[in-house]
């Protein structure tokens, strides 16, 4: 097309940056987080203390690390319910390594590699056999933890080297724990990968329409496989942290973490149906869940009552924009 009558110009975007930022999911989460923070500081005199706030972060860092990878996985239209079981298996393997006299670097490697291996196993089942991930990972959830039970039975592994304690208990600078540091670094990496790389773009495309993505030259199965591996990897890292924090391994470790990580992802505005979401949302959701559980903990509210708050928060925060749109849309 050498010369054509000036083609119709289509603008890049119709920017309304302010209003779109104000009505975004993240803004809603910021409001919720600030509100809870304020309520907490009023409700308990112990809340506004650097060490309290630092301890608070331990309530969510491990789960949030998994939630980052899980967010990518859910955006791509899959899910992994086996993450907590992966933690158990990885921790058990680390325990075996300790028994065999392994030092801290080897332990960390074992934990991460076992996590990666479990993730790859999930990924293979889902992509190679074309099975629905929710079912596959319900199966591997029992399988992985079951293997941990077979190995450990009623025993526990302990005797982790003193230097190993750093990962789950150490502080990098003043009140900034290693876990918090890792959480922040991971948040930046995942934000970059999801929102600034072609890999992330492909993840969104797969989540919105896997078939069209495949026809467009996206290697759908490969990307999904990588995402399962990533989720396994993050579970492995979380396993190192939690094992280090507890200083021991039981097969029942990290029970129920999968639902909390998924709750975090969904609360963070990631569509459970795939195709939409942001890392910033997940970070905010992690803080919110930490604030709620710690704040109520300071008031000695039983954990189960906190979970009511989390459950309500989940439903309300998701229902609000829907109701709002319905009200605005009239009728």
């Amino acid at each position: 097309m050498t010369d054509t009558p000036a083609p119709r110009h289509i603008p890049d975007r119709l920017d309304k940056p302010l209003s779109s930022a104000i009505f975004s999911w993240e803004a809603l989460l910021v409001v919720v987080a600030v509100a809870i923070f304020a309520v907490n500081s009023f409700a308990s005199p112990y809340f506004l203390d650097p060490w309290s706030l630092s301890d608070l972060t331990f309530n969510f860092t491990e789960k949030a690390l998994i939630a980052f990878a899980m967010a990518l996985l859910i955006i791509s239209g899959e899910i992994d319910l086996s993450v907590a079981a992966i933690i158990a298996l990885a921790s058990t393997m680390m325990g075996m390594a300790v028994q065999a006299g392994a030092g801290t670097p080897v332990l960390v490697a074992v934990g991460i590699l076992v996590g990666l291996g479990c993730g790859a196993f999930n990924g293979l089942l889902v992509t190679r056999l074309g099975l629905p991930s929710i079912v596959v990972t319900i199966g591997t959830m029992s399988l992985f933890r079951g293997v941990a039970f077979i190995i450990l039975g009623d025993q526990a592994y302990k005797g982790y080297p003193a230097s190993f304690a750093f990962f789950g208990q150490g502080y990098v600078w003043w009140v900034v724990s290693f876990e918090l540091m890792l959480f922040l670094v991971a948040a930046i990496i995942y934000w970059f990968v999801l929102h600034r790389t072609s890999f992330g773009r492909r993840v969104f495309a797969i989540g919105n329409n896997p078939i069209a993505a495949q026809f467009s030259g996206v290697r759908v199965d490969r990307i999904k496989f990588i995402l399962f591996c990533l989720t396994g990897l993050m579970s492995g890292i979380a396993s190192v942290l939690i094992t280090s924090r507890l200083g021991s391994t039981r097969p029942s470790i990290a029970q129920g973490y999968e639902l909390e990580a998924i709750t975090m992802v969904v609360l963070g505005g990631v569509s459970i149906l795939g195709g939409a979401g942001s890392i910033l949302g997940v970070v905010l959701a992690a803080f919110i869940m930490g604030l709620v559980t710690f704040g109520l903990g300071l008031l000695n509210v039983p954990g189960i009552v906190m979970s009511i708050f989390i459950g309500l928060l989940l439903i309300i925060v998701i229902a609000l924009p829907i109701l709002w749109r319905r009200l605005r849309g009239g009728r």
């Binding site: 308990s44 112990y46 809340f47 203390d49 060490w51 309290s52 301890d55 608070l56 331990f58 309530n59 039975g153 009623d154 025993q155 526990a156 302990k158 304690a165 789950g168 208990q169 939690i242 924090r245 507890l246 200083g247 021991s248 039981r250 029942s252 470790i253 990290a254 029970q255 129920g256 559980t293 710690f294 903990g297 300071l298 000695n300 039983p302 954990g303 189960i304």
Partner: protein, 307 residues
Amino acid sequence: ENVKIALVVKSLGNGFFDAANKGAEEAAKELGDVDIIYTGPTKATAEAQIEVVNSLIAQKVNAIAISANDADALVPALKKAMERGITVISWDSGVAPEGRQLHLNPSDTGLIGETIIKLAADYLPEGGDVAILSASSTATNQNAWIDAAKKILPEKFPKINLVATVYGDDDSAKSTDEAKGLLKSYPNLKAIIAPTTVGVVAAAQVVTDENLIGKVNVTGLALPSEFKKFIDNGSSQAVALWNPIDLGYSAVYLAYDVAVKKEEAKPGATLSIGRVGKVTLDDTNSAAMAPPFQFDKTNIEKFSKIY
């Protein structure tokens, strides 16, 4: 400004711990300047208990008296508490020595181990097969009692044959399945020993349902109020337990001794536990409160009204 003592239990809602809390409140009243924070997770896991401990640290309580879900996993969190100047003792279900200043056993471990076997043996003059239905495989105290029981079995009760140990995880459904499995696998089973209040109820209910009353005797550790029914219907001859009210009471006294009276918790030290008396710490800084108390047809009515 009152002294804040946190009574941390394995899980909320358990009748045993609610009774212990009664004792703790009683101790607080006696001591005068004590506030009790009765808390714990709803799910009996170490991770949940750690979150509870963290919030107690933030609240700057004076002392934590904990019945732990896991002897090892809680150590780092409790160490942190001690570093921040909080007195930590464990009671009922203990924490490894480096995670607490002292531990109060409800009773002597060896004695409990012996008692649970004896409860079965008393009604089996000819001897026979027995099995243990425990709580979770990670429960510190149950494991210690079972070990003690196994140790004395050959010398003191040669005719008693322990055929299996299974775990019901303090979950009534799982305990039921396991009890049923025991009855099926060991048709000659004469007694099921369940040293846990959830398991013992499940086992007694199974024996009742399968019409094995009189053939299989259920025994173990049980709360009289929860278990009275099964003593009455004959599925169990007798069970034992210490007084949980006294246990909670004593735990608070010990915490107060260390935190406020600044008594040193070291091997050989003798500490006062109010109306219950005195305890002496052994070389792991542990002490036992009282021998287990036995309930049977003659006294269950009375105690079921108390706890």
